[in-house]
Amino acid sequence: MKLYLKIWRQKDRVSEGKLVEYTLDNVNTHMSFLEMLDTLNNQLITNNEEPVEFDHDCREGICGQCGVVINGIAHGPLKNTTTCQLHMREFKDNETILIEPFRAAGFPVKKDLKVDRGAFDRIISSGGYVSVNTGQAPEANTIPVGHETAEAAFDSAACIGCGACVATCKNGSAALFTSAKITQLALLPQAKEERDQRALKMIAQMDKEQFGHCSNTEACEVECPQGISVLNIARMNYEYNRASFLKFKK
């Protein structure tokens, strides 16, 4: 198949970017979207042009590294899919595809389609952990965790941190990402000791990173590759309210 591509090219963080048009022949329909970009880059390198930079790692849909906005939708037309798991059979011959980086105030563009998602790392390091004493690993069955609880915690833990929720949200809110981690840990007995501080700290960091307010449009859940539920956000609200208004000891 033949494709007409319009790709966002930006030299670095400070430069102004623009959409550049490319034509790509002989695209195999079984190629993944990233393989199509690899093919384009081969063509660009052969022609002594600068290749298009984009993030990727596992290409199995589980690491959360890849992610671009394709025809105005984060991770492209397929719902609940990462960019690497999107295949060219979803597109038509001679189609024009517009590719842009994830955009939000909290996600500055580094180059071309690469964005700085360091804000997510800083949110996690502000409280998305469980403090344990070093030494021997404790016996695994000392603290029983019910099956339902373990499954619910795992549903939240399935977030791969790709940032599609932020790119999809009209407010550039990181509520789904932050709430998935807060909920996962709030459910587990090992992490309950720090739940109040965690909610307060992670939300404070989220705000500091210039993400917007969640207005419950629920778009994030629809586009999330892992289908993380928006009820995690409601749970985060509960955790925040509990820590702020119900607990007297801070």
């Binding site: 955009r103 105030a105 939300i203 307010h213 419950n216 009820l231 609200n237 509960y238």
Partner: protein, 217 residues
Amino acid sequence: MNTQIRKIIMACTGLFLCFFLLIHFLGNTQLFLAPEEARKSFNMYSSFLTGNIFVKLVSYVLYLSIILHAIYALIISTINRKAGGHYSTDNRGRSSKWYSRNMGILGTIILIFIVLHFQNFWYVYKFGSIGLDPWGHKDLYTVVVTAFQQGWLVIVYVIAMAALAYHLIQGISSGIRTLGLFHPKFVRWINIFGMVYAIAICVGFALMPIYIYFTHN
């Protein structure tokens, strides 16, 4: 002040306004009575409301809620606009309802309506020259009936109620989750409740000017 606190202020003021709408609606159902009976009972009810100290206190909370809800909506929208990304082609709309993305526009329509509504009745009742009915109460009923004999005003009211219905469908479910209700079963019930509440109240309100227009013209 952080994002959570701003959202909690929006939720609390919004949910209070939703509750107020119910009381306002129940009081106004008297307009559906036969004209003479409606006139007597509606005017009596209005004068009872103005004389009651508790109602006066609630009315101050109401004014404050409207003002805070509007101010915080403006603050939140301004921050969100800066935080959100803009794309050359934007098809993100497929994953959410149009009214959930346009609460600000719906809210603006409602705010303009509130100003008009206050000017139509509240201002006339408080500061305007208004006649007395045969029972000695200010004749607000006649003011209402006279107003709703203008077709354009009826249309404006019906449009405002449509905007309000969509605003409430999103607002009730969103506000309650902001306050921390997260259980899937209860959230589902609240979504259904919010939808029924919003439609019932707004259709009911919209029927009032329509009913008066057709029965008094």
